[in-house]
Subunit: 414 residues, 2 copies
C-alpha cells in the first residue's frame, strides 16, 4: 500500500464532533494498511474571526504579523485532530507548516511554496505514525511564518503528496465532488467521475470553488492523482487525472459561474498607443486582480475599455481610476456590480470550433444579453446580468446535455 | 538607557481594546529612549477555552499535542500586539518562544528553560524594533513545541531579561503590586514598595498568586530587578530586589493564604520504619504534589499521618491511598477539603525567635484552632479551618501592624 494524503477543509473540522468523525476516517484508512498523511485547515470560521480581531486592533495589519496570527488557526486543528487519532489507538504527530518543511518565498499572505523538506514527516511515517500537517502555512527563507492565501491548504496537501510520492491525494470537503454545474442553481447537474487537470484548472479559475487553482497546477505538474470527495457522506467523489486517462470524453465537461466580480468601464478613452498600458499597469501596481478585458472598436478617435475584477478590489480600483482618468483624458468610468460570469469548460472544445456559436445561440434564445466574452483553448466565458444567471446556466446545461453521461466512445472524436 | 522587558498577562490583553492600551504603554516606553522587549500571555481565557476543546475531542490529551494546541494562544496575542504597536509608528516583530530561542527540556506541560539563544531578539533590537515574544512557550531539544506550565509567562519574561542583561523586568498584571495580605480579605492590607527575592519566593509558594515561583527563582539567581505593577492604573508597584537592597526592614513582611489545598489523614498507621516512605513514594510516583506533612506521636504502636495536597490532585491521591492502606495495614484515610493555609513571611524572622509563638497566641485569642504547622527560616505556615481564614488573616495582620510602614532604622535590629 502506498502513501495516502488526506486533506480536510475548515467545515470538515468545524467543531469537536466533526474532528472526531475525521479521526475515525483517518484511523480507518490507516488500519486498511495505508501510510496516511493528513493535512488540515483551521476550524470553521476561525480564520475569519482572527482577521476580525486584527482589524479591531489596527486599520492595516502588518502582513508578517497577520500571517503569525492566522497560522494559529491550523495549529489548533492539527493538535486536536492528533489527540483524537491518538485516542483511537493510532499514534499521530502534528507538524506546523514549518515543521513539515514547507519552505516558501517571503510574500506574506500569498506565499508560494519553493520546496518541501519533509524529513520529519517521513521519519514519523517510518515510525508508523500519522503525520498531521497544518495546511495553508509555511516558513519563508528568512525564517518567518507565511501563509499561502485562501484555499492554500489544498496546495499544501497536493504539494506534500508530490514531495512524498503519494499514490493519491484525497481532498475532503463539504461537497461530494465536481459537478457539471452548481447543483444549487442547476438541479439536473451531474457529478463528474473524472475531470482532467486542465479542465479543473479552467473550472476553478471560472469560479468553481471546489479547489484552489494552484493546487490543481501542482497536481498537474507533478502528476498527483487527486480525488475530491465529501467528508460527510461516504460516496465516490471526482478524480482529477491526466487528460489521456479520461474515460468519458465530452465536448463540454461543465458549466461554471462566478458572481464575485464587478465590471468597470472607462468611458471615451482617447484611442492612442499606450493608454491601455497606463490603465492596467496602474491597476496592477495597486495589486488589483483584473480578469477579463474588452476594448471596443474605436469610433471618432475614442473608445471604451471594460474589465472585470473581484468586488473586493473595487475600493482600490476606484482610487486608481480617479487618478488615471484625468491623466489619459478619459470622460470618466462606470461600475457595475450586478454581473455574473458564465463559462463552459471542456477538453473537447479544442477540436469542436462550433461550441462558441452554440453557446451564444442558446443564450440569445433565452433572452440573455452577452456583455463581454473571453476564451481559452478549453474554456469560453461570457459576462451577463446577474439576474439572468440561473436561466443561462440551465439553458447551457440542457443544450450540451451535461446531465447525461458522455459516450465512452467519444474518445474517437479527438 | 538600558533594555526594559515588559510582561503583560492574559487579563492585560483580554480584548482588542486592552491590547491597544498595552500598545500605547509599549510605544511610550520606547519613545522615552528605552530598548523595549515585550513578553505576552494568551488573551484572557483563551488558554482555558483551548483546554476545553482538547477534552471535547478526547479524554486524555497527548501532552505533546496539548502543548501544540495551547501555544496557539500566545501566537494570537503577540501578532495582535505587534500590529497595534506598528500602527502607532513603532516597528515591532513578533517571535514565538521557539523563534525567540527559548530552549527547554522535553517535559511537555511543565518544561524547564535550559538556555536562551536570543540572537533574533537582539537583531530586532539592533534594528530599532520592539520584539514581542510569546510567553509560556519554548522549543525542546527534540524540536517540539513546549509550554512552561501555568504562569510560565512570568518565567519567560524574567529569563529573557536575564539573557539580554535587561536593566529591569516589569510584570504588568491585574493587581498593582504585592500586598501585606490579600486586600480582598484584609481591607487594611498595605502595598509593599519592596520585597526581597527570598520573601517573594516564600509568599508565592504560600499562595500569593502574583508571580510564578520559578520566575522569582530565576530573578534571584540572575539578579534581575523585577517590578510588579498594574497594567490598568499608572501607580508605582512593588520592586522585588536583593535582600541587602531592602530599605524598610520588617520582621514580618506579609501574610499569605492558600485555599487550593486539601488535607488527607491516613489513620492508625502501624508505627514501624518505612511506612511513611511507602506512602509518600507512592504519591510522588503518581505525581501528587504533597505540600505539608505531619506525623503525630505514636500511641499504642499506631500513628496518624496527615499531609496537604492540591485539591486537583485528590482523584489520583484517592486511587493511591486505596491501594496503600491495605498494604501498610492502616485503618483507612480521611479527606478534608475545608482547610486553608495561612503563612507569615519575613526575612526578619530569622533573627526573631518569638514570632512563631506570637502567631500561635494570636490565633488562639481569636479562637482559631491550628491543625498543622510547617516552617522555613523566613516563613511559618498553619493549616486552619477555611471558614476561620478571614478572622485569622485580620488578627495576624493587625498583630504585626502590617498596615504600617516599618521603621527604616529597623535594619539595626538584625
Amino acid at each position: 500500500m502506498g502513501i495516502v494524503v488526506q486533506k480536510f477543509g475548515g467545515t470538515s473540522v468545524a467543531d469537536s464532533e466533526r474532528i472526531r468523525v475525521v479521526a475515525d476516517r483517518v484511523v480507518e484508512t490507516k488500519k486498511r494498511g495505508n501510510d496516511v498523511v493528513v493535512v488540515v485547515s483551521a476550524m470553521g470560521k476561525s480564520t475569519d474571526n482572527l482577521v476580525d480581531l486584527a482589524f479591531q486592533v489596527c486599520d492595516q495589519p502588518a502582513p508578517r504579523e497577520l500571517d503569525m496570527l492566522l497560522t494559529a488557526g491550523e495549529r489548533v486543528s492539527i493538535a486536536l485532530l492528533c489527540m483524537a487519532v491518538i485516542d483511537r489507538g493510532v499514534n499521530a504527530t502534528s507538524f506546523t507548516g514549518s515543521q513539515a518543511g514547507i519552505l516558501t518565498d517571503a510574500i506574506h499572505g500569498k506565499a508560494k511554496i519553493l520546496e518541501i523538506n519533509a524529513y520529519r514527516v517521513r521519519e514519523a511515517l517510518e515510525e508508523g505514525k500519522v503525520p498531521v500537517i497544518a495546511g495553508f502555512q509555511g516558513v519563508s527563507t528568512t525564517k518567518d511564518v507565511t501563509t499561502l492565501g485562501r484555499g492554500g491548504s489544498d496546495t499544501s496537501a497536493v504539494a506534500m503528496a508530490a514531495a512524498l510520492g503519494a499514490s493519491v491525494c484525497e481532498i475532503y470537503t463539504d461537497v461530494d465532488g465536481v459537478y457539471t454545474a452548481d447543483p444549487r442553481r442547476v438541479p439536473s447537474a451531474r457529478k463528474l467521475s473524472q475531470v482532467s487537470h486542465e479542465e479543473m484548472l479552467e473550472m476553478a479559475a471560472a469560479g468553481a470553488g471546489v479547489l484552489q487553482v494552484r493546487s490543481v497546477e501542482v497536481a498537474r505538474n507533478y502528476g498527483v492523482p487527486v480525488s475530491v470527495r465529501s467528508s460527510f457522506v461516504d460516496v465516490p467523489g471526482t478524480w482529477i487525472v491526466k487528460e489521456e486517462e479520461i474515460m468519458e470524453r465530452a465536448i463540454v465537461s461543465g458549466v461554471a459561474h462566478d458572481v464575485s466580480e464587478a465590471k468597470m468601464t472607462v468611458r471615451r478613452v482617447p484611442d492612442r498607443p499606450g493608454v491601455a498600458a497606463i490603465i492596467f499597469r496602474s491597476l496592477a501596481d495597486a495589486a488589483v486582480n483584473v480578469d477579463m478585458i474588452v476594448q471596443n472598436v474605436s469610433l471618432d478617435g475614442y473608445t471604451d475599455v471594460s474589465f472585470t475584477l473581484p468586488k473586493t478590489d473595487l475600493p482600490v480600483a476606484h482610487a486608481v481610476l480617479n487618478k488615471i482618468c484625468k491623466r489619459i483624458d478619459a470622460a470618466g468610468y462606470d461600475t457595475n456590480e450586478n454581473i455574473a460570469k458564465i463559462s463552459i469548460v471542456g477538453a473537447g472544445m479544442k477540436t469542436h470550433p462550433g461550441v462558441a456559436a452554440d453557446m451564444f445561440t442558446q443564450l440569445a434564445e433565452v433572452g440573455v444579453n452577452i456583455d463581454m466574452i473571453s476564451t481559452s483553448t478549453i474554456r469560453l466565458s461570457c459576462v451577463i446580468a446577474v439576474d439572468q444567471l440561473d436561466t443561462a446556466l440551465q439553458a447551457i446545461h440542457d443544450h450540451f446535455e451535461l446531465e447525461k453521461l458522455p459516450k465512452i466512445s467519444a474518445r474517437a472524436d479527438t
